[in-house]
């Protein structure tokens, strides 16, 4: 019954989505006051409520393990702890697509209920665009990925969830990431509405900014969470693999980061109009490309794509319609947009444009590297593209970008002189030179880590330079946000460089009682004993860690799950202020010995702390912009009120 309610709610929501599209399209044609176009806001809101009902139904059938639902039978098991039964609802294709559509619907409802800056025609056009995008994904969900399909007769047991996914990471990472992915749809719809209603000025930028910021914060947190999850769960100590699925989440982030900065230029200076519009299209396109890559199975190989071509072809069709359509609209209308304001190279705009070009180039590199193996396979050769390609090639663009970032925020809008910022420029140069010399002299790190460390130190100092000559109490919240986010980039970069330069690894086969040294610690293997969990059994090693004032026991496990049968390594981590000790229990090595894999990774945690700081900076900027938006609206109202008063006085 619950599954049928979920499916019915989904169909009803699809119907309302169609209404939202039609009503919005009528509104877009200029008939804002008509009876049909008045329906667009209610349709969007009720649609979102129905989607929430549908999603809750899915959570419910997973929570109670209703084995007559095909999706539950294929992906869940009654023996799993409740939190993993529930989060398992989106740990599969159909469930994650329902989450996608639900968030898309919620975005529509939020636009319908919150957007007050733009006029009614604009909002209706944006909702029509949002509805048009959602319709395609509704069709995909209902026609080829129904999450509520019944199984008759019901399965006796569920097939279970992949043990790698039985982790709190699954509860947090996909929803956060999806909010970011799908939140970018608002940027897309606003840009389309801006093109249709011919509004591409600072008002559009100010209206878009909170939405893009919110999506970007979520995307940042989702990527950081995913990276940490992969780091501790896969058991290989790596935090970024340049895996196509990771790239699929990085690409929208790069585009959204570029978009945020160009929105800043458009809002403040009315420059970069067409470029901002284009980035709005690109950002959400990257979300859809990512979804296509992950959901179509094309990533393993073009041959895997052929195994289930229906779904892949479906998403590819949607991609073509939406991205192609948006770019066609762009091509038709972009020429008609008045060109934005001009500026010289040495200006805040100039620095931000540089940042935008470099971010776009990195995006191009990642996209190329992700798609190239597929292209070359289609042409008959198989190549692999991994860190040895991505690291240096992205660094070629990232290093100049970060150097410009160190001084860009100090520049004035429109036009500036080098002599005005000579003092901070010298300071940045001295810090950079000193840190390069220090790293080279004391660490013997490789080329890229050396550059990374030196840049991180420089940027950590430079990110606070905009405070110079200001009263800190009068610094706008949004500026605090941007400084904090830039500082977060430095922190994260320091973690990446340090991990790659200073990690030490020990791979040993030891008996109980043997001691090995790893980094500043000694590790002594104690007993290796069986332990049992709710749906797994495991061998657990007790490893006593001593040194640097630490005296503790790490308990890495090698787990054996029954449904489905699979083994996983549960790493044990010791987190210190200056790094992490990472321990893995491997195979029995004969003669009572056990394989242990130990890493000391100095300052590795900075990678994720930096990610959190970046997101926090985004949050401060979001609050700052919302506050100044409210203030601006209030001032506008006051002026209008005063004018009305004066007019009525004059009339009297």
């Amino acid at each position: 019954m619950i599954a049928e309610i979920g499916l019915a709610a989904l169909w009803l929501a699809a119907g309302l989505c169609l209404l939202q599209f039609i009503a919005g399209a009528i509104g877009a044609r200029g008939d804002e006051q008509g009876p049909v176009s008045a329906l667009v806001r209610p349709a969007a809101i009720v649609q979102a409520l129905l989607l929430v009902v549908s999603f809750v139904c899915l959570l419910w059938v997973f929570a109670v393990t209703d084995l007559s639902v095909a999706l539950v039978a294929a992906n869940s098991h009654a023996d799993k702890p409740l939190v993993y039964r529930i989060s398992g609802a989106w740990g599969n294709h159909e469930g994650s697509m329902l989450l996608w559509v639900t968030i898309l619907g919620l975005c529509s409802a939020l636009i319908a209920s919150l957007e007050r800056r733009m006029d009614a025609r604009f909002v209706k056009t944006a909702l029509a665009a949002q509805g048009f995008v959602a319709l395609g994904f509704f069709a995909f969900l209902l026609l080829s990925s129904n999450p509520f399909a019944r199984l008759n007769p019901p399965a006796e047991f569920g097939a279970g969830l992949n043990p790698l996914l039985q982790d709190i990471g699954l509860a947090l990472h996909p929803p956060t990431l999806y909010v970011g992915y799908v939140g970018l749809s608002v940027a897309f719809s606003f840009v389309v509405a801006g093109l249709v209603t011919r509004q591409a000025g600072p008002e559009l930028a100010r209206a878009m900014r909170p939405w893009v910021l919110a999506a970007w914060i979520s995307l940042t947190l989702g990527i950081a969470a995913g990276s940490y999850w992969a780091y501790y769960e896969l058991g290989w100590g790596g935090w970024w693999f340049w895996d196509p699925v990771e790239n699929a989440s990085l690409m929208p982030w790069l585009a959204a980061t570029a978009l945020l900065h160009s929105i800043g230029v458009l809002a403040a200076r009315d420059a970069l109009r067409t470029w901002t519009i284009m980035l709005g299209v690109v950002a959400f396109s990257m979300s859809m490309v990512g979804t296509f890559l992950v959901r179509s199975g094309i990533l393993t190989s073009v041959h895997a794509f052929a195994v289930d071509p229906e779904r892949g072809a479906f998403i590819l069709g949607l991609l073509t319609i939406y991205i192609g359509g948006a770019f066609a609209l762009f091509a038709l209308r972009a020429g008609a947009l008045a060109e934005g304001k001009r500026f010289v190279a040495l200006s805040r705009e100039g620095a931000l444009v540089f940042n935008n070009v470099m971010l776009s180039a990195i995006l191009a590199v990642v996209l190329l590297g992700t798609l190239y193996p597929l292209l070359s396979e289609a042409l008959g050769t198989r190549v692999s593209i991994g860190p040895p390609y991505y690291n240096p090639v992205t660094a070629v663009f990232a290093v100049p970008m970060l150097l410009v970032l160190a001084v860009g925020p100090l520049l004035r809008w429109r036009r500036d002189r080098i002599s005005r910022i000579a003092a901070p420029l010298v300071l940045v140069g001295v810090v950079l030179a000193a840190s390069v010399i220090a790293v080279v002299a004391f660490s013997g790190a490789g080329v890229l880590p050396t550059i990374g460390l030196a840049l991180a130190v420089t940027l950590a100092v430079a990110s606070w330079l905009p405070l110079m000559g200001r009263n800190p109490r009068r610094v706008p919240l949004a500026l605090w946000g941007s400084m904090l986010a830039h500082f977060g980039v430095a922190v994260s970069l320091a973690g990446m460089a340090s991990e790659s330069a200073f990690s030490t690894e020990r791979l040993v086969a030891v008996r109980s009682g043997d001691t090995v040294e790893v980094g500043p610690f000694t590790a002594t293997l104690g007993a290796v004993e069986p332990v049992a969990g709710p749906n797994w059994t495991a061998l657990e090693a007790r490893i006593a860690i001593a040194g640097e004032g630490v005296d503790t026991v790490l308990r890495p496990q090698s787990r054996t799950f029954t449904d489905p049968p699979q083994n996983t390594s549960e790493a044990a981590l010791l987190t210190r202020w200056n790094g992490q000790l990472y321990a893995i229990l491997g195979d029995a090595a004969g003669e009572g010995r056990w394989q242990l894999r130990l890493w000391w990774k100095p300052f590795v945690t900075l990678i994720w702390y930096g990610g959190v700081l970046i997101a926090l900076g985004g949050l401060l900027a979001l609050l700052g912009h919302l506050r100044s938006g409210v203030r601006r609206a209030r001032i506008g109202e006051a002026i209008a009120q005063r004018r009305a008063d004066r007019e009525s006085e004059a009339a009297a």
């Binding site: 790596g238 699925v245 001009r342 010289v344 190549v383 029995a588």
Partner: protein
């Protein structure tokens, strides 16, 4: 990434499961044993991180539990220990398994766009911007 790896693992039973404790020891002794010479081990490690595990989902052989990755790690370590240079070992593996095995795409007829396209992108962007900015403020 885990999500996809896990889903793919479920979909394709051919993917070997991770080896846990208690299973038989691989016949390749150097799969999980570091070389005594730290210089040679560092060379081997750097190379292993750039070689693809052929039975996994985009993992390097340094990052994989699959038996075949263990065999390949053994091969890499024993060849480096025998005095071969990492590039010789890589060439030997590429000869056996094709370009697919190395994560470091070379520069040849099949891979030149990987380096040419980013360059082209930056040139086009640079020219466009230069034309716009070159005409000066306002």
């Amino acid at each position: 990434m885990i999500l996809a790896a896990a889903l793919l693992a479920l979909a394709a039973p051919a993917t070997p499961p991770a080896i846990g404790a208690g299973q038989t020891v691989s016949s390749a002794p150097l799969a999980d044993t570091q070389l005594a010479d730290p210089v040679a081990e560092a060379k081997a490690q750097a190379l292993m991180e750039e070689l693809r595990c052929l039975t996994c989902q985009s993992q390097s052989i340094a990052d994989s539990n699959a038996p075949m990755a263990g065999d390949m790690r053994h091969q890499v370590r024993s060849r480096i220990a025998a005095g071969e240079e990492p590039e010789q070992v890589r060439a030997w593996l590429v000869e056996r398994y094709g370009d697919y095995v190395t994560f470091r795409p070379g520069f040849d007829w099949a891979t030149w766009p990987l380096y040419a396209l980013p360059l082209l992108f930056i040139l086009v962007a640079g020219v466009l911007l230069f034309r716009r900015i070159g005409r000066g403020g306002e």
